[in-house]
Amino acid sequence: MSERISLLRAEEALLRPGVYFMQGNIAAAEAALLAGCRFFAGYPITPSNEIAEHMSRRLPQVGGYFIQFEDEIASVIALSGAAYAGVKSMTATSGPGFSLMQEGIGMAAMIEAPIVIINVQRGGPSTGLPTLVGQGDIMQAKWGSHGDYEIVAYLPSSVQEMFDLTIQAFNTAWAYRVPVIVLTDQRVGQMIEKLNVPDYNEIPIVGRRVPEEPPEEFLPFNSKYLIPPMAFAGEGYRFHVTTLTHDERGYPSTSHKVSTKLVTRLIRKIRDNEKAIGRYDSVSTDDADLVIVAYGITSRSALKAVKEARREGLKVGLFRPITAWPFPYWGLKEAVDRGADILVVEINMGQMVRVVREHFANIVNIHSMTWAPGEVPRPHDILMKIKEVYER
């Protein structure tokens, strides 16, 4: 009886459907609770602190646990522990903390632990600009840990997307058993704007795929599945998990055959599903002879620049990746086939432009507008660059 009452109380304590005026970081925290997150582990770092602070207040209200660990290393590791105990878990951090988490993110990828990491990007390198915007972690998000693995990274550009994509991040993490990163930035994380929380039945929630086999036949990394069903600790499966290269039983192996099978599957989980996972948005790209690629806060400046350019008669469009990884290259194909130039605008010294080049170099002209961290390029700055490209 008392358990039922607490469950009801937990539901009552979730953010109700409706319209709110809310900060991005807090919207992400509330979204995590709605997605079922009941464990948060983190370490203080600007500009992500609102998430941890909010979770420390809200988690106990819904029967969840908050721990501020001794560092980001412990925090990200504890997430995998909680996930294997059957509890959805999340952390939030920024540049230096994200660097410290890399080994643990690689571990989660290796043992296929579904965890969510919000990285509110600030200016780097090193301690850099703690309170100011940056987008310099695009490459680290994908390649930060050693070895070959795949992750998924979302790029919210509004408070609404901080909410929507955090829920999506949990669903993707649990559907594919991968670490998922919400790669936002200081501006989107700390801005306050309108948030629309839909009815709960419009919010899909994904959980684990439950093993079908009885414990004595269960293989924790059964290769008959691309994404193996997940057993939780304490359920009687008595399974073994190792961060060493392992076979289907979860036992260490130095066989090249086993290594090939494991690493290939870890990669294929995401690459075979890139079109199901990858997302983008585009504005006025249908007839564009120049397509701006911009994401996060920069895409909002770029949108204004595109509108301005159109007013001046320039056929410019905006392509906004919603996932950095997998990069939604197929969304650019139509514009590339038409021979449109591409201009990548980002608050770093040229990171996503490398990915665009990987797909389309030698097919169309690819331009890069780099921007040092600390400020968002104004629409005017981007418009100047657009004109420069046209004059070439």
Binding site: P60, Q61, I67, A78, G81, A233, R238, T242
Partner: protein, 280 residues
């Protein structure tokens, strides 16, 4: 005519071992195998259902133990067994979570986690096998290497100083602190049984012989076993500041510390109950 062997006394233990993975990787004379045997013995006697026992470890010789134990087991990355165990235990309080790892893993790379998990009084059990060296990587010195010991990275002798593990754990506030050796199987098993009952951070240091250490320091495992047999004193009330490991004086063993500070997880649960009950 077939020979019928007598039913092995240790048979029930096999149900808790991954027999298909034997022979194990440990060197002849290593003490870790004995620790595993004591652990499964204690787990069987604990009365806690086997599916509720979980073992976690980092990387190193000792950390291979969960690979041979037929329980839910997590062989995670170097130094991080404790935070993984804290995540498991916090998320699922009905689990009995035991970390089995070595001195380098828990006290060097994982030192900060050890420090804070003890301070927080996280409700986990830690079996720290101290063999004074990084055995798996070939014999480098670690945070418990003895004074002037020769290792592959201290060829002229070790001059840094070593942790006194029980003294350290006690100072940090652990609820249960013990030290035994693989020669004291009964006492070690009993200490583990007591550890399972502790609500809070419990640690047993197992001072163990190591072939790698022995070869470099003229103390092969059998000689060390003999030394342990002849030179240990059991003193549960010992002054912990005076019990650092030193082969020039007797090794003090015992169940040194029993405290009843409620664990971090118990306090978190109480907090959640209060917040939910009181509407936050």
């Amino acid at each position: 005519m077939s020979l019928r062997l007598p039913h092995s006394r240790t048979d029930p233990l096999k149900s808790l071992l991954r027999m298909e993975r034997f022979p194990h990787i440990w060197c002849p004379g290593c003490g870790i195998g004995v620790v595993v045997k004591c652990f499964v013995e204690a787990a069987l006697q604990s009365g806690i259902p086997v599916e509720k026992h979980v073992v976690a470890s980092g990387i190193g010789c000792t950390s291979r133990a969960p690979g041979y134990i037929k329980m839910d087991g997590f062989h995670v990355i170097h130094g991080r067994a404790i935070p993984f165990a804290v995540g498991l235990k916090t998320a699922r309080p009905d689990l009995e979570v035991t970390v089995i790892a070595g001195d380098g893993d828990l006290l060097a790379i994982g030192g900060n986690h050890f420090l804070h998990a003890t301070r927080r009084n996280d409700d986990i059990n830690v079996i720290l096998v101290n063999n004074f060296i990084y055995g798996m990587t070939g014999g480098q010195y670690g945070p418990t290497t003895l004074e002037m010991a020769v290792t592959t990275t201290s060829p002229y002798g070790f001059v840094e100083g070593a942790f006194n593990v029980p003294y350290l754990a006690s100072a940090l506030g652990a609820n249960f602190v013990a030290r035994w050796t693989p020669l004291h199987t009964k006492e070690l098993t009993n200490a583990m049984l007591e550890m399972f009952k502790v609500d809070g951070f419990a640690i047993i240091e197992v001072v163990s012989p190591c072939l790698i250490y022995g070869e470099l320091n003229n103390m092969p495992p059998l000689d060390m076993m003999k030394w342990l047999k002849d030179n240990t004193i059991i003193d549960h009330n010992a002054d912990l500041s005076k019990i650092s490991v030193d082969f020039k004086k007797p090794l003090v063993l015992g169940n040194f510390v029993r405290r009843y500070r409620p664990s971090h997880q118990t306090r978190l649960r109480e907090l959640v109950k209060k917040v939910m009950g009181g509407g936050g």
